[in-house]
């Protein structure tokens, strides 16, 4: 059994893990090690062969693999260490990280841990879609892996449940492979993902989308042979008499991502039930001192550029912690979600320095004004739950918050 003392352990080597490790290394930390279960760094970026990555971070339009490689190269250049094909089994209370790989069991003893485990896809089973349990039902991300990395097409008559980004991307991808994508079925009255994808994936390819519909039954004894869909009411309940059957040999599910926080639970980290991820402060530190987090494990992002920036924050502060220990405690300001806001991040803001605030609205709304206490106000034409709101607050902005005020609320108010 190998025991290793290191400075920073980064759990997960996807875009968040790469960005955070590079930043920590650039800040001068001696040993930064990424522990990654695949045999390559870059995570899910490798299967995202479509473009749209790096538009903001690099000012370039790249594919997922291209974006990944920029960071993989930089990680190698800056001297980031990595353990590939290695699985973190557990994080012990004393912060020791237990890793398994073909060499055996290792105990890493880091000064700081950064959690960048990403998320998993919501499954058919957790949606409890009635019917049989045949082959041919996939989550969209898994299907994307089969198509883009392994070289297989799951089926040729496909129905997609959910109009999240992954679902729409796969609708286009499969169409380009000769598949008949017969329908995208979305329970909300509007498309779930980015407007860009709605246009470039569905409209441009004439793929029918059934809004306010859901899959009510899966048919087929061994391989799926049809789905039943029905219109839903405002409570998402199927409306009797609206059921129709669509023959298909494949069902893809794009019905949500869930931050993967099993290891966070090991440490007793406080989780936010709305985001599914850790409660964090503006240093991206969790409720356990010296444990930081960034990327999709904290909350589900839509743009990888933001994942990178957020993870860099975590890396910078984790490096400080590793080098100098915890900073002096300061009374933080609590950030709260107000009118039509589903969640805001980080949960606590430091009075020192600036901060980037991320938020999502609950319902789509037009002609709104975003108000953050009395220190920030911005008009927006349209806000959607699928498009994350990003607010940059400078050091001065924060200094303008009254000393006696330890709470800040973000509201999304109608201008009409």
């Amino acid at each position: 059994m190998i025991k290793q003392e290191i400075d920073v352990a980064v759990i997960g080597g996807g875009p968040a893990g790469l960005a955070t490790a590079i930043k920590a290394k650039e800040a001068g930390v001696d040993n930064v090690t990424i522990i990654e279960r695949a045999d390559y760094l870059g995570g899910l970026l490798h299967q995202c062969i479509h473009n749209g990555f790096g538009l903001f971070y690099f000012n370039e339009d790249m594919t997922g693999p291209q974006y990944a490689h920029r960071f993989i190269e930089k990680a190698m250049d800056t001297g980031v260490d990595s353990m590939l094909k290695s699985m973190v089994l557990k994080i012990l209370p004393n912060r020791s990280v237990v890793v398994s790989n073909r060499e055996g069991i290792s105990y890493l003893n880091p000064k700081t841990i950064i959690l960048t485990m990403g998320c998993r896809e919501r499954t058919r089973e957790s949606l409890r879609i009635p019917g049989t349990r045949p082959a041919g039902v996939f989550t969209a991300g898994t299907a994307q892996r089969y198509v883009n990395l392994d070289g297989y097409i799951p089926g040729k008559e496909v129905v997609i449940m959910g109009s999240g980004d992954i679902g729409m991307i796969m609708a286009r991808r499969l169409t380009l492979e000769g598949v008949n994508v017969k329908a995208v079925v979305e329970v909300l009255p509007y498309v779930g993902g980015l407007i860009r994808n709605e246009v470039q994936c569905l409209h441009d390819f004439d793929i029918p989308i059934y809004l306010k519909h859901t899959v009510t039954n899966i048919h087929g004894p061994e391989r799926i042979n049809a789905v039943s869909i029905a219109e839903v009411d405002d409570k998402w309940q199927p409306i009797e008499g609206t059921e129709q059957k669509i023959d298909c040999d494949t069902l893809l599910l794009s019905v949500g991502l869930i931050p993967e926080n099993e290891l966070s639970r090991d440490l007793g980290i406080e989780l936010d039930p709305i985001t599914g991820g850790p409660v964090v402060n503006s240093r991206m530190e969790t409720s356990v001192q010296g444990v930081f987090a960034g990327g999709n494990v904290v909350h589900v992002h839509d743009l990888v550029d933001n994942v990178t920036w957020e993870a860099e924050q975590a890396g910078a502060f984790a490096a400080s912690f590793a080098q100098d220990g915890p900073p002096p405690a300061t009374p933080d300001i609590t950030l709260r979600a107000g009118e039509n806001i589903r969640y805001t991040l980080p949960h606590k803001i430091s009075r020192e320095g600036g901060v980037t605030i991320y938020a999502r609205v609950m319902e789509p709304q037009i002609k709104v004004r975003l108000e953050l206490g009395d220190i920030y106000s911005k008009n927006k034409k349209i806000v959607k739950p699928s498009e994350m709101i990003k607010i940059e607050l400078s050091e001065d902005d924060i200094k303008n918050i009254d000393e006696k005020n330890n709470k800040l609320v973000l509201d999304c108010k109608s201008r009409e």
Binding site: E125, Y146, D150, Y152, I153
Partner: protein, 504 residues
Amino acid sequence: MNKNIEADVLIIGGGVAGAAIARELSKYKIDTLLIEKSADVSMGISKTAHGYLYTGSEMVYSKILKSRGKKGGPNFDDSHSKSLIESFPIAHDLLHQLDVPHQHAGSVIITKTEKEFPLLEEIGKHAKEMHAFDKDAVRMIDQKTLREIEPNITPDAIGALYDPECILDMFPQEFVFALVDNAKENGVKMQMETEALGFSQENGTQVVKTNKGYIKTKFIINATGLSADSVADLAGARDDWEFTFTRHQIALYDKRLNGLVKNHIRTIPQGGLLNLVSPMHEGNLCSSCGPKDVIKDRWDLSTSKKSFDLMVYGANELVPSLSEKDIIATFVGNTVSNSRDAHIVEPSKKNPNFINVVLRMPGFTPSPLVAAWVVDLLGEQGLKLEEKTHFNPTRKGIPKFAELSNEEKDKLIEEDPRYGHVICRCETVTEGEIIEAIKRGATTVQGIQFRTRAAMGRCQSGFCGPKLIKILSDELGIPATEVTKKGGDSRILLYRSKELLKEA
């Protein structure tokens, strides 16, 4: 693929009955062949059975349950009850011999009304008579004690019958795999995806036509579960018994909820509605609720929204804090009841060398005893029973990496580095275990799943699915497009890249 095979005994059916009989026969110098129509063993009733071993109040409860509505109520003196009592210690012993992980559990039958107290007391009385463990521990408990033992139980429960140790929880398929592994090690041949299509006689030998050729055999054991009546009919060997079928639905909860209840919680079945919440051996809570109606189509394994809702409602009636959000999987099992309401283990009157074996529920507990009965019957019918000198009664299961200590893990990895490579991260299942599962007969994703727990976690094979397909493809030497979920038509990946564009 064999065109013509010969055997002394042909067992048709690879569920718990067939597997137990195979293992029993493997003690003797007999050429035994087991055929199974699915791609793997334990794919019928045994796949979705609760599959516990019962004694005490659990045994009594299951008898009451399965005799619901019968005139005169359950008979605790009949051959079935006697078989449960006699077989329990034999089955328990087998769990140790065959390395089947199990845990001792208790039963709490709750009631919300004093009117049910006499019935609970009656159950308690019979439970003491049929107990393999501590019968004196069986007792009625009041609300206060109930709250202490099970703090998360519904506050509406005013009392319960508590039997602290009457269940051996195990994963039912593991029991079947263990019997099969041991039978094979002791010389029994097994062939999957082989279905009996026709029966004839030739010079005193029975000839079975299958989709993979002909099998000549002296004796046939019909242990085909849901199909036993139709297989018997095909062979002209059905006597006076009929089947009816019932369905139950099971939900599995996220591992986070482990410890929410410690015992098997149930109520007295009312108006056809049956509720159960219990911890499974692996830790996952499961609930089985809803009506166990008689169904028409024994092969219909679909769930419905109505049955989901009933199940969620039923589970909440027992444990209010159970949220449907925590359900990670649900499935349906169909089971069979027969018109004699007893085990049917007898040579057919129409063909004495054709032995029908139909287990009356619960089937796992009596299976080893029934297997011994079958061997006795074969002896009576003229089969020479000479014991093997080198019969190996023990079997070691596939190592469970996730349950080993870190030192044990390290040692295992040193012996075989594939045990260090975690494939299913939700359940921490390694490549070593998966390869071993394939060595022991898994040829499908479910075959791996049920032998190792891979693909059974919260992401439901989202991440490990592609890896399982690759490993199966490599180990079995088949293209990835031929890999199935559960045999038959259940291929997972239908086409290779660009194949559909060529068609255009």
